[in-house]
């Protein structure tokens, strides 16, 4: 046997192994999802009514991804061949079909309560016996091949198809929300039936959305001036701010149209956006990791409670201090949070990196435990908290509803965003950026380390204090248990997912990480699985975040050479 033949055999067996292993992996994931009961839950949510459920979409997506991954070049396999994809699909399909027949023939429900005949039917697209198994295997092979084809498409085409498919998925998955909004307005009601039936997205609606999204995704390609180069797309200010304006418009309109529940969700998102912008100053600009951030939020909430509540714990009740209206209490809450920020910053001034994370975590917990303690109970109410915080009022108008409080939060967030934006471009903002990059050198440049760091904590805390103040009136009461470590971690996660240092990223991160679990309430504890999945996926696929800050995006910018491009690079 010649050496060449040997090599060929080696490659063949490698491709074979790759196909079988990835296929088996996919089947395992599907079996896992089925066994824990997630598939059954997902099956209750349609993507396209009567055609495709979320569970089926997930299964197809797994097969699709397997096909896609089988075509990736890796260090071990420099020249992937197409047939590994259908092979992987075949293996996955056969294993899943075996699993389905196992469920039908043996009763495993005493161990895994989720392994029911309906699950088997779901796997086999509702068909019984051999034809169902055949359908499952065929579907798996086709989806995997489609994934492989997709991977082989040019990058540009993929950039068109992916957002379009995502749009259909989102419009289908969240049909309940969208339907509520569509029913709010005569114009919407007029075209809504084209897209949605009573039980979800229609097939023609899905196709239309796909086409519209495709056109939108193609827009940048069409509008680009002939002869211009890629970087020039960012040189029109309106084009860069258009997405932000769109999001703002969405934020303005959706809560009124969507009713109280959606307004409530958006209100929560708004509060997290406020906090995210604060932590973004600390971490995104100054590079100070802070896991005790919730302490500032709690400070704002408690100060508002003590000053405004109609309760024996309110200052007005046992001192000569009058009862404050919300509008007077809010600035004081912010001020209190700022003081807390400075107090918080002093002990950790010299602490860096990993140690800073642990130190701030400890400080945050101390604040919560002090609030909860019996010692502070006469003032702060201990675990019972402070009740009966009145809603804000302007003249005769009371911010009683979630919708009105949402607009209050939105106004606060816009103001805060403006402040954050100005801060980033200020002298102080530059000092923070230098500190994050290299503390010693920053000092050698004449930056006052102590002052700059404390100001970073102070400003970050101000934003959180504002959010806390609104939170207090939103829930009418404050309890120590509302201010858990998890909240700090949520804020941290959302700014990292959104893109550190990026204002738009904060909004996007909050929408995804706070909005998504809310939208998936019916999945109970599983929604945190999605939360984790969203975290891992964004960090794997978009390590700079969903909407990276300009400063980070520029890392790959090549120097401008020659007059033409030098001109184009100017902002």
């Amino acid at each position: 046997m010649s050496v060449q033949q040997d090599d060929l055999d080696g490659r063949l067996s490698r491709h074979l192994r790759r196909g079988i292993v990835t296929g088996a992996g996919a089947a395992l994931i599907a079996i896992y999802l089925g066994s824990v009961g997630l598939l059954a839950m997902m099956n209750a949510r349609p993507v396209v009514a009567n055609v495709l459920t979320l569970a089926q979409t997930a299964l197809l997506a797994i097969a699709f991804l397997v096909g896609l991954l089988s075509q990736r070049t890796s260090a071990k396999d420099r020249s992937p061949v197409f047939w590994t994809a259908p092979l992987a699909g075949l293996v996955a399909g056969l294993l899943a079909a075996g699993f389905a027949s196992l469920i039908l023939s043996i009763n495993l429900r005493s161990i895994f309560i989720a392994l029911t005949p309906p699950l088997a039917r779901l796997l086999t697209f509702g068909q019984p016996g051999i034809s169902g198994a055949g359908l499952l295997v065929a579907g798996s092979v086709v989806a995997a091949s489609a994934g492989a084809l997709y991977q082989r498409l040019p990058h540009k085409v993929r950039r068109l198809i992916f957002p379009a498919a995502l749009a259909v998925l989102l419009c289908g998955m969240f049909q309940e929300f969208i339907q509520v909004i569509l029913q709010s307005n005569a114009l919407f009601r007029w075209f809504a039936p084209w897209f949605y039936g009573w039980d979800g997205l229609t097939a023609r609606g899905g196709l239309t959305i796909f086409a519209i999204a495709l056109a939108f995704a193609a827009l940048p390609f069409l509008v680009r001036r002939p002869g211009g180069f890629a970087g020039s797309a960012g040189s029109h200010p309106w084009r860069r701010s258009a997405p932000a304006l769109l999001v703002l418009l969405l934020l303005l309109l959706v809560p009124i149209a969507g009713g109280p529940y959606i307004a409530q969700v958006f209100l929560l998102i708004g509060l997290y956006v406020l906090m995210g912008m604060g932590l973004n100053l600390e971490l995104g600009l100054a590079g100070l990791l802070d896991l005790g951030f919730v302490a500032f939020f709690a400070t704002g909430a408690y100060i508002t409670a003590i000053l405004t509540a109609d309760s024996p714990l309110a200052l007005a009740h046992y001192t000569a201090v009058p009862s404050f209206p919300f509008w007077a209490a809010m600035p004081l809450a912010v001020l209190g949070a700022v003081l807390m920020g400075i107090l918080f910053g002093i002990p950790v001034l010299g602490v860096k990196g990993d140690y800073l994370a642990v130190a701030t975590l400890g400080l945050g917990e101390i604040v919560r435990i002090v609030v909860q303690s019996d010692a502070a109970a006469p003032i702060l109410g201990g675990a019972q908290g402070i009740l009966q915080i009145p809603k804000p009022q302007i003249g005769g108008f009371q911010f009683g509803s979630a919708v009105s409080l949402f607009y209050l939060t939105l106004a606060a967030a816009i103001f805060a965003a403006y402040c954050a934006w100005r801060l980033e471009r200020s002298r102080l903002g530059r000092a923070w950026i230098a500190l994050r990059e290299d503390e010693d050198v920053a000092q050698a440049m004449g930056i006052n380390l102590v002052q700059s760091k404390l100001l970073a904590y102070a400003f970050g805390a101000a934003f959180a204090g504002l959010a806390g103040s609104i939170f207090a009136v939103m829930v009418n009461s404050v309890f120590p248990s509302s201010f858990q470590l998890l909240m700090s971690i949520n804020v941290l996660a959302l700014i990292v997912v959104g893109g550190l240092g990026s204002l738009s990223g904060v909004v996007l991160g909050a929408l995804v990480l706070i909005g998504l679990p809310e939208a998936l309430r019916e999945f109970g504890e599983f929604r945190y699985l999605f939360y984790g999945l969203a975290l891992i996926l964004t960090m794997r696929l978009m390590p700079e975040g969903l909407w990276p800050a300009g400063r980070r995006r520029r890392r790959i910018v090549v120097p401008a050479t020659g007059a033409r491009s030098a001109q184009a690079a100017r902002p």
């Binding site: 530059r430 230098a434 990059e437 010693d440 050198v441 000092q443 050698a444 440049m445 930056i447 890392r555």
Partner: protein, 234 residues
Amino acid sequence: MILEIENMSLAYGNIEAVRGVSIKIVDGGIVALVGANGAGKSSTLNAISGLIPIKNGSIRIDGQSSAALKPHEITRRGIVQVPEGRRIFGRLSVEENLLMGAFSRTDHAAIAEDRDHMFELFPRLKERRRQVAGTLSGGEQQMVATARGLMARPRVLLMDEPSMGLAPLVVEQVFDTIQAINAAGTTVLLVEQNALMALEIAHHAYVMEHGEIVLEGPGAELAVDERVVSIYLG
């Protein structure tokens, strides 16, 4: 005397890195501080910049002790360090790095002028003003570090091994630049491994070994001193 170090000692824990060092820097000169690895040169510069505390002795700026001053206050008195290993702000652009150097200044018009002047001094940087500094070549990064230091309009520029890791031809350019900077009126304290070249351009020089000054004299003299030659060439 713009900068005077007298009998200065400092330690990292129990390790005495610098012992009884005295250095005088008069206005307008180039002073070289040379010595082998670990001799304590960078430690001396960091002590001058206020980044590490001294144990004994004194550092005086314009005759006043700098003991109570914070690093940024020393910078504002015109003593500016270009640190070892360049340590530019890697995620900022070349231009942003330069502007960062002028952080403690408020004369905006003059800052813009100085920036343009830096681009004349280092034409390579002008071409790359919007490039992220971390992606520059080593020599270009050294140019950024030097220009950033000059942007503070220092009275004394403390340069820690500006020739580190550079090709001989580029080293020549760096030394030419140092002389040009000095000719324009900036006093320079130059720390170098590249001892012979540093001694050649220095008006006055100190040789450091194991944390102590072992030799001192005019640069040109030390350059031919057999003790120096034996340390560095033999």
